[in-house]
Symmetry: C2
Subunit: 500 residues, 2 copies
C-alpha cells in the first residue's frame, strides 16, 4: 500500500475564486479512483475504520484553521461552525465503530443442504455486501462541514470502501480546498490507497464525473431542480447508476386543538426558534404550521417576537430567497402574519405568512413550495378533521411533525405522515438531525430521489454497497467475512439463524 498524497486540483487563484478542474485533471482523478477501488475494498473493515479515525483526528486538529475560513465564506457564526465540525468528526468515528462491528456487511451463509424443501438440493451459498465502486459526491452549501467535503456522504462512501470524488460547492471554495487537503493528507498518512479521495471543482467537471462509466453511484444534497438534473443524468447513462439526492422539503407541522390549548405560547416560541434557526437554511426547517384558527396559539403567533435579521449563506441564496418570498407574498391566498422590519433586505428579517386550510386545499402545490430562508406559513384550520385531508396533499417530505397530547386521536394522521415522510416527530422540532443508528434522513420524492435510503445515520452506508454471493467456493478464496471460522467475528445469518 503506497502512501502517495491524494490529488486535489482546483487551485484557489485568489480570494474566493477557484480554477475549475480541467478535463485532463478529471481524467487522471477518475483513473486514480478506479485504481483505488480494489485495494480500498480489500482492506479489512477495521482497517478502513482507522482511515476514518485519522481523517476525524486531522479535522479536529485543524479546527483553528478551518473555522475562520468557514466563517468568512458562509457568514455562519463561529459557535455554530465549531459545533458542526464536532458533529462531522463524530460522524466519521461512528462509521468507524460500524465497521469494527461488521454487522453492516449483512453476511449470510447457507450451507449445502440436500434436503432443502424447495425440491432441489441447496448448494453452499454465501453472501456479503461489497463496495459499489467509485462515487461522486456533490457537496451542499448550508452545512459547510457536515454535508460538504468530509460530510456524511463522503464518510459513508469511504466507510463502505468506495473511493470518493467530491464535487466542491462553490459557496465555500476556500474551505473546500482546505478541508480536502486535510482529508487527503490524513488518508495518505494513514496508508489509504492513492485515489481514495479527491476534490473536483466546477459544474462541468461534476457532470462529466457523473457521466463517466468508472463512477458507480452519485450522492447530492441541494435544490430540487439541481438534484433532479443530476438524477436524470445518472438514470440516462448507458449504464444507469443509483443517485442519492436529498432535495427539498417543507416539513409540515400539525398542532392539534388540545396541544394548542394546552401549550400555545410554548409551541409558538419553539416554532419561531425552529424556522429561523440558521436563518431558516435547514432542509428540515418547518415550513408550514397548522394551527386551530380560534386558539391562543394563533394569538401568540400574531404577537410573536421574531429574531433579528441574519445574513444568508451567500448572494445567490439571498437573491433566491427574496424572489421566493416575493412570489409567496404576491399570492392572494397568503397574508403577512408577523414580519420584521426589513423582510426583503440583505440580511432579511424573518417573515410569517398566514393562510387558511381551505386556501391550502385549493392550491396546495404553490402554498407548500419550499422557501429556503427565514419564512414559514401558518395555516389556520377550523376543524381537526381537515388535517388528514390536507396531509394527503403534501408531496414526499424529509420530516413531518405532530404536536398533540396523549389523549389526541391522531392514528390516521400518523399513518398518512409516515407514508409521506422519512421521519415523523411527536412534540419535537425537525431542525437538528442527530447522527445515530436509527436516524432516517430521507423520504419519498422530492424529499429525495431514493426513498429507500438515508443520508444521515449509520444506515447511510447501505447506499454504497452491493451484494455479492459466492457459491461452492473453497475457504481460502472466500472473503474473510464468509469463511467458516469467522476470522473477523462479524454477526452473520447462518442457515437462516442469526449468530452474533
Amino acid at each position: 500500500m503506497t502512501t502517495v498524497a491524494q490529488n486535489t486540483p482546483g487551485k484557489q487563484s485568489n480570494a474566493g475564486a477557484v480554477t475549475p478542474t480541467t478535463d485532463a485533471e478529471l481524467e487522471s482523478l477518475l483513473a486514480a479512483a478506479q485504481s483505488a477501488a480494489a485495494p480500498l475494498a480489500a482492506l479489512r473493515p477495521a482497517e478502513r475504520a482507522k482511515l476514518l479515525d485519522a481523517v476525524a483526528d486531522a479535522l479536529d486538529a485543524a479546527a483553528g484553521q478551518l473555522v475562520p475560513v468557514a466563517q468568512r465564506e458562509t457568514r455562519l457564526a463561529e459557535v455554530r461552525l465549531r459545533g458542526e465540525l464536532k458533529r462531522t468528526t463524530f460522524q466519521l468515528r461512528l462509521f468507524g465503530e460500524l465497521l469494527r462491528d461488521g454487522g453492516y456487511l449483512d453476511a449470510r451463509i447457507d450451507h449445502a443442504d440436500a434436503e432443502w424443501p424447495m425440491g432441489a438440493p441447496r448448494p453452499d451459498i454465501r453472501r456479503v455486501l461489497a463496495p459499489s465502486g467509485p462515487v461522486v459526491v456533490f457537496a451542499a452549501s448550508n452545512f459547510p462541514f457536515a454535508f460538504s467535503v468530509a460530510g456524511g456522504d463522503t464518510a459513508s462512501a469511504l466507510a463502505a470502501g468506495s473511493p470518493v470524488l467530491l464535487k466542491a460547492h462553490s459557496g465555500h471554495p476556500g474551505l473546500s480546498l482546505l478541508t480536502a487537503k486535510v482529508v487527503a493528507s490524513a488518508l495518505a498518512a494513514a496508508g489509504a490507497p492513492e485515489g481514495t479521495f479527491a476534490l473536483i471543482t466546477g459544474t462541468a467537471a461534476g457532470g462529466a464525473a457523473l457521466r463517466d462509466p468508472r463512477i458507480k453511484a452519485g450522492a447530492f444534497t441541494g435544490s430540487i431542480p439541481g438534484g433532479r438534473a443530476l438524477f436524470d443524468i445518472a438514470s440516462s447513462r448507458p449504464e444507469p447508476i443509483p443517485f442519492f439526492g436529498e432535495l427539498g422539503s417543507n416539513n409540515p407541522v400539525f398542532v392539534t386543538e388540545a396541544a394548542a390549548a394546552k401549550r400555545g405560547p410554548e409551541i409558538a416560541e419553539a416554532f419561531v426558534g425552529s424556522f429561523t434557526l440558521g436563518a431558516g437554511q435547514f432542509c428540515t426547517k418547518p415550513g408550514t404550521l397548522f394551527v386551530p384558527a380560534d386558539s391562543g396559539l394563533m394569538d401568540a403567533l400574531r404577537d410573536a417576537v421574531l429574531p433579528p435579521a441574519m445574513p444568508l449563506l451567500n448572494d445567490r441564496i439571498q437573491s433566491g430567497y427574496v424572489e421566493g418570498l416575493q412570489g409567496l407574498q404576491s399570492n392572494p391566498r397568503l397574508n403577512v402574519l408577523a414580519q420584521g422590519t426589513d423582510p426583503l433586505a440583505d440580511p432579511p428579517s424573518p417573515t410569517l405568512l398566514l393562510t387558511t386550510a381551505t386556501d391550502m386545499l385549493a392550491e396546495p402545490h404553490a402554498l407548500q413550495a419550499e422557501c429556503f430562508g427565514p419564512t414559514a406559513v401558518v395555516v389556520a384550520y377550523d376543524d381537526e378533521s381537515q388535517l388528514p385531508l390536507i396531509a394527503e396533499t403534501f408531496e414526499g417530505q424529509l420530516t413531518a411533525t405532530i404536536h398533540g397530547t396523549d389523549s389526541c386521536r391522531v392514528d390516521g394522521l400518523v399513518e398518512i405522515l409516515a407514508r409521506k415522510a422519512g421521519r415523523v416527530l411527536w412534540n419535537q422540532w425537525s431542525t437538528g438531525v442527530s447522527v445515530t443508528y436509527a436516524q432516517q434522513h430521507g423520504g419519498p420524492y422530492p424529499a429525495t430521489t431514493a426513498a429507500g435510503s438515508t443520508s444521515v445515520g449509520t444506515a447511510a452506508i447501505e447506499r454504497f454497497l452491493r451484494p455479492v454471493a459466492y457459491q461452492g467456493f473453497p475457504q481460502h478464496l472466500l472473503p474473510e467475512a464468509l469463511r467458516e471460522e469467522n476470522p473477523l467475528g462479524v454477526p452473520r445469518l447462518v442457515d437462516g439463524r442469526r449468530e452474533n
Copy 2:
C-alpha cells in the same frame, strides 16, 4: 377487513387470446390497490405470512388444473413445470417464515441520550422498514410459475406489505388468468384487503400502471430493451420510482488449465447439460466458456453429443433466437464447433460456436451478446494470463463461474468477477437458482437496473420497503415493532447493540 374477491379483468375470449385491460378497469384496479395499501401495511407480519401460506396452499391444490394449461402454453415438460410450481409455493412460504421472524424489519431503537458525544443530546428515535406502496410487477415468459403471476416479485412485494398489480406475460395468457384467480380467491378467503392483488393484461395497461402516481415501485424480468424502456419510464416520471428490472446476462465460465486437464470430459458434459437446460431459456444460461486451446476439454467439446432439439417457449422467442444465432454465425470471428442437424429449425438443435481469446478481446460486445436459446460460445485461450483481461471486458452479469483446482492462483480473477457479477460460482453451474437466505440474483447493469438488489432469495423483500423513523413518540402511537416491550418479539438494534 372485508373479504371481497380480488378483481381480475382481462377475460380470455378464446383459446390464447386475452382482452387487454381497459383504461376504466385499470383506473378501478389502481384505486383498489391504493385503498389496500394502508390496511395491508397495518397487518402484523405474521398475519401477512398467513396470506402467503394461503396462496401457496391454494396453488398446490390447483396443480392439477394449472400444470396442463402451462404445458399447452409454454411447451415445457410436465416434470419441469411441477418442479417449478413446487419452487414457487416453497418461495411463498419462505417469505412467510421471514415475516414471522421479523428481522427483515431492521427495527432500531435509539433511546434519548443527553450525553450523546455528537455535541447535542440525542432524542428518542426509532426506525423500522415500512411497505413502499403499490407495486407493478411485469411477469416473465420463461418461468410461467416462479417468475410470473405468483412468482418471486409478487411474493416479496406482498410479504413487504405492498399491493401488487401483476402485468401478465402474453406468452402464457390462460395460465396467467387461472393463476391469478387462484391467488385472488385465496387472498380474499384469507381476509386480505380488497385490492391486495390484481392481474392486468396488455402492454398499454402495463405502461400506464407504471406511469401512475399511485404506483411506488416496479419489478420486471425479461429482455434488455424491454426492461430498459420500462426503467426509463419509471425514472422519468414526475415522481421517479425505483424499478427493479432483471434483464440479460451472458454468465461467462472460466476454466483454468489445471481444471481442464483434470476434469476435461466431465466439464464438457456438464457444460452441455447446463447451456441446453430448458432449451437454453434461462437467464443464468452459461453463454461463454473459456477453455485452454490445447486441452482435452477442447477435444471433448468438439466431440460433444448435443441433446436433441427442444421447442422454445413461443413463436416470438423462436424467431428471436433464429435471428440471434444467424447474427452470431455471420460474424467471421465465430465458427461452428458442434451443432445438431437443424440449428435454425423449429424446434432448433443446439449449437456450440468457437472463437479465440484474441478475437473476443477485439470485439467483446458483439461476441458477448446474450443469445436466448440453446447456443453458447466456446473461447479458446492460449494462456491463463489472458483471463483477467477478458473478464474486464464483460458488462454486468447475473453470474460468473470459475472451474479450477485448489492450487489455482485465481484471486485476481475472483475479484474481477465479484465486481462484475451478483453471484460467483466455483466448480458449479449457474443454471438452477436456489431460493435461500443468502441467494443473490442480481448484478450491475445490464444484468439488472438496480445492482443493490436481488430478485431471488429472502433479501428480495428489501426492494419493496422504505425506512421510517419516529422521533419522540408515545408508546401507543408507535408501530408495534418499535414499542419498548417488543410485543412482536422481533430482533432489534437497541442503542447500537443487537437484541434478538
